[in-house]
Symmetry: C2
């Protein structure tokens, strides 16, 4: 047998997968075995990459959207020479500390471009990457940016709603550098795909303007030829690779069992027999490994030519490129924000919350040329477009994406843009619709991607649209996500501060949450430190002697707390107001600061037009809470605040009750 034959090379993927899955006694062999040939075609003949410089900015991006078949990716990365994916990692597949986790976990430094597993996310990320590439190519030129985004795709990705959204949108936006390799094995976890699907999937893609080809996914030459055509076609491409799931495991291939079957020693032995692989577990014949490593060096000429072109760039353009690939914002990007908060403090006026954010994004789009904005068909209501031209199939230089009524695709594409690098992907929708994209928020947090998610219409303050559009549980549910920065500014000054914090946050996403209704100015200082950076701070100290009462509030309710304080102070009750734009930032402060802000021994009452969950941590066991205990209602904003008892008067009452029970 020819040890460098493509089929043998594909079998190296198969046996690394088989051996790893057998050893740990679990995993998903179906995909790595079924798609081994398809992947070999891509990695050995087309992929532009350099395992020695995994972060090469102009590399092709590869996403394994069917992340459960992660051994496919790990095998490819190890074989082609990514040093961080060692044979030992593969031997320790799915063990704590191995780089080969159950599902691929974001680490571009070893070729894992995004975290995948929850189905449909990966292909949407890939669409975001392709959008980023198209935009940067248009901006920086073909010399510098000229790559493809490939995704390994399973049936699950295509059935999921987010997958369907992305098929429509990628076709519509003409993302011609996006190439899906669909592992069409007609088998899902439940059994034959016909159990739950009758759609002609190829036709589904064609309908949205995709270039579609059908090939035998085990025929490496055929797949390779199809990839060539896909690259040439100006449309996004879907290559339907007909495969046999679990190809190579004679007992289970082509059956439901192959999807996540346990592999026993006998099964592995039978596969060795079946495929003619006489080598010991985890042993890759030297020639085969060599051939793979050669494949990993295939793009070196292109790599070096690119480096030369970059070296030859005029210095200004070179600085721009370096800044973009390192994910640094331009010098002085925050100056307009500082100027804005100075002005807002100097000339206080009540402004619609979401308009404040729109005004800020307006300033930022000038200051940050890589900022791409967009909304899911809420351009008018969310005010984050202004002067930006739309990104369309015919103009990839546009900086505003009309995502259509597809929140989930928007979020996942934002993640993809951030993972690609070189883009600040802003997306904005109503806070209630954040639930539609919640899986993407979680993944952004898990990957630590710097994505600014903007959510408007943040409470019953939206008024008449009623409870379906009034978030009450969302602040709590977003605060529950680890590594998610949740920011809810109280006025224009805090809005500028929070935007500054969100953009400066390079290790995770931020949710910027804005009221629709006007926010009364509460901050009179705009030029000093960014006070929101500590998460919570004393906005107004007690003015009438030692503090007896601490009122805690966020966003639109800070104004209510300020008014309640006025009443309490006028009754001689020394009362402080603490603004808490971000719990996460407050938690990061030292204990001393936190105690001081919360007020030792004071009566504490929190006000937030949302559910109580989580507030007990700050108000303590004797604390009071003024907020929502159920869903909202349809009516005028002021009627609703009155109806649900979120008023200065109720805050004062709550304080009085507590002061009384203390003194008795």
């Amino acid at each position: 047998m020819n040890m460098t034959d493509p089929r043998t090379m594909a079998n190296a993927i198969r046996f690394l997968s088989i051996d790893a899955i057998e050893r740990v006694e679990e995993g998903h062999p179906g995909t790595p075995l079924g798609a081994a040939d398809t992947a070999t075609a891509l990695f050995t003949r087309h992929l532009k990459f350099n395992p020695k410089d995994p972060l090469w900015f102009d590399r092709d991006r590869v996403v394994q959207s069917n992340g459960h078949g992660s051994m496919l990716l790990y095998s490819l990365l190890h074989l082609s020479g990514y040093e961080k994916i060692t044979l030992d990692d593969i031997k320790r597949f799915r063990e704590l500390g191995s780089h080969c986790e159950g599902h691929p976990e974001f680490d571009p430094s070893c070729g894992i471009e995004v975290t995948t597993g929850p189905l449909g996310q990966g292909i949407a990320n890939a669409a975001g990457m392709a959008l980023a590439e198209a935009f940067l190519r248009e901006w920086l030129g073909w010399d510098i940016i000229d790559h493809y985004t490939y995704a390994f795709v399973g049936d699950g990705c295509l059935q999921e709603g987010v997958g369907q959204e992305v098929i429509s949108l990628a076709g519509h936006l003409g993302l011609g550098r996006l190439i899906f390799l669909w592992d069409d094995n007609r088998m899902t976890d439940d059994g034959v795909i016909d159990l739950a699907l009758s759609d002609d999937m190829a036709a589904r893609f064609r309908l949205s303007g995709w270039h579609v080809q059908e090939v035998d996914g085990h025929d490496i030459d055929a797949v390779s030829a199809a990839i060539l055509l896909a690259k040439k076609d100006p449309r996004p491409s879907m290559i339907q690779c007909r495969t046999v799931i679990g190809r190579g495991l004679p007992q289970v291939e082509g059956t439901r069992a192959a999807h996540s079957a346990r592999i026993f020693r006998e099964g592995a032995d039978a596969a060795r027999q079946y495929l003619g692989w006489p080598h010991a577990p985890f042993e890759i014949p030297e020639e085969t490994l060599h051939a793979w490593r050669e494949a990993g060096r295939r793009s070196l000429p292109e790599y070096e030519a690119w480096q030369s072109r970059v070296d030859a760039l005029p210095s200004e353009q070179r600085r721009l490129l370096d800044r973009l690939r390192e994910g640094r914002l331009p010098d002085g990007w925050d100056e307009p924000l500082r100027a804005l908060r100075e002005r807002a403090a100097r000339e206080p006026s009540a402004e619609f919350g979401i308009k404040l954010s729109g005004d800020i994004v307006d300033l930022l789009t000038d200051a940050i040329p890589e900022l791409i904005s967009g909304a899911p068909d809420l351009e008018g209501a969310t005010k984050h477009k202004r002067a930006l031209a739309p990104f369309t199939a015919s103009d990839h230089g546009g900086r505003y994406v009309h995502y259509g009524i597809r929140e989930h695709a928007m979020g996942a594409m934002q993640n993809g843009m951030a993972a690609h690098g070189g883009i600040v992907p802003v997306g904005v929708t109503y806070l209630v619709f954040s639930d539609y994209m919640r899986p993407t928020l979680r993944l952004a947090a898990m990957m630590g991607l710097p994505v600014p998610f903007v959510f408007s219409h943040d409470s019953i303050g939206i008024g008449r649209n009623g409870p379906t559009h009034q978030p009450v549980e969302y602040l709590a549910s977003l605060r529950a996500i680890p590594n998610m920065l949740v920011l809810r500014p109280a006025d224009a000054v805090e809005a500028a501060e929070c935007w500054e914090i969100a953009l400066a946050n390079r290790t995770g996403p931020s949710c910027l949450i804005f009221a629709r209704q006007p926010l009364e100015p509460v901050r009179t200082d705009g030029s000093g430190e960014n006070r929101s950076r500590r998460g919570a701070y004393v906005l107004l100290e007690a003015g009438n002697g030692p503090r007896q009462v601490t009122l805690l509030a966020t966003g639109s309710e800070v104004g209510i707390a300020v008014e309640a304080r006025r009443q309490l102070e006028s009754e001689g009750v020394p009362t402080a107001v603490v603004s808490m734009p971000s719990w996460e930032l407050f938690e990061a402060q030292d204990a001393e600061y936190r105690k001081e802000v919360l007020g030792r021994g004071t009566v504490r009452v929190a006000v937030e037009a949302a559910v109580r969950l989580g507030w007990d941590r700050y108000i303590g066991e004797d604390g009071g809470f003024i907020g929502m205990s159920g869903f909202g209602a349809s009516g005028a904003e002021t009627d609703l605040y009155e109806h649900f008892g979120i008023t200065p008067g109720k805050v004062v009452e709550e304080v009085r009750k507590r002061l009384k029970s203390r003194s008795s």
Copy 2:
């Protein structure tokens, strides 16, 4: 002009909508004006309904999926004679207390079959209703169940992922009684639909096996003829009604502004001129109203014939029907659960959490013939199928739905089945995928629908699949939803108790949350009261003198607390363990009980393999928490519990630390 002419009848819808929107100074005129003719065709010629008995079990169901155009529905309901939608309600559209909320809020007693607004939900609910109808028809016979489900559909519903999922699935399942009336106005909030869509939507439906027709949506005869054909065709039907958005408002019709334009007096006057409607605001000519009321009486003969058939039913079948339409479970449905918990207490053994639930659903499927189970391609892993035959296009009598990899559609269809009535719709998936269906969980809670949502694989205890599949923030985020009962049982006894609670809960949904890993038995009493019903209870009281320490835990961590207690007690520290399967139920107990359970003045430490958010309420300011502070990792379950420090040893340490600081 003929005052009973269909066009005049349609204009009655238009002017009620115009006048209501003008008066309150906001609303969405685009849909009610654009779809008035289409809706008139349906309500005056086809719909089987009886406004005097809105809950008639065999009525056709109508869902307005584009809920922002709610004035369409309110106008139809008022005009056709639903007494609870008064002219005064319409005059007070969007005001607090009016039955005409900004978006339609679930109230079948006035013809509002589901709450809509978040796009795509309504059509998925409608598919669930059609599934319920098909199943009940197969079971109870055509004499008793023989109706259609109609949905008014906007562009947003079709672009949303959940909408796309439903198109695929409804076609696949052959839900032939489902008829969509698509208000094809080629305009969305952002502008012309081409901004974000290039798909041929009719082809999209055909692809999934739908019957598709295209008509002029303003031609009432044409729409009526199409509905007739749709009803006859065995496939689900989509009628593409080409319309002009905001038809009748001369300044804005056909433009983006019509979507949610404010209507001023001059605009309303111009519309009166344009459409020849000389009547005062909110005035419907008597003859026109009469014609509408006649339309509302159109189905009376069918209604009466149906009543006669029901009256003639053999008593057993009559009792069954009454039980189903009243939403009562069969007598003795809970007996198998009681027997199970007795047996589990008698013969304690560690069992896989989700298998416990599967075993329970097995018993329930025998006891409750209207229980329909299903999962999104996780039949094997979630074990809730067993002996059930699948519900397929060729067998509508099946009781297991293969939803495909479409969690969102599953959730929304469960809601639709529950709203239809006569079905106990069980759906099960991994807890991490509950985020994919979160908008439906929220709506189930808002509507108060009795839906049991089952979620398995509930923590890092799933092990090697890694952080993407390990929920850490989900318990908190589900607990944040008002009116959602979150139940996380600790062992087999609690599993049976929690299922009993979930099914008995008729005023809202429940999340039943199960570990994948084996749950050690902690309950030795199985025959007495359902102790989980109080939400939290003292599982083990301190045995060594007055209680000094209270350990609080849920689910799989109760076993850890029990072991920690053993150690503490052996050191002479009187320690109680409190199991807290449901916070919501615990909150409903009186203060005295809650204080007693939590232990006055005791050191309190909570253990839950999830984030801390919310626990401070129970552990107090000096309390300890053993759980997760970030995302999980990929590794063996036991390694992970060790790695993240969720062990009896860590609990004991945390307690000791607190006891020490107290005594110092």
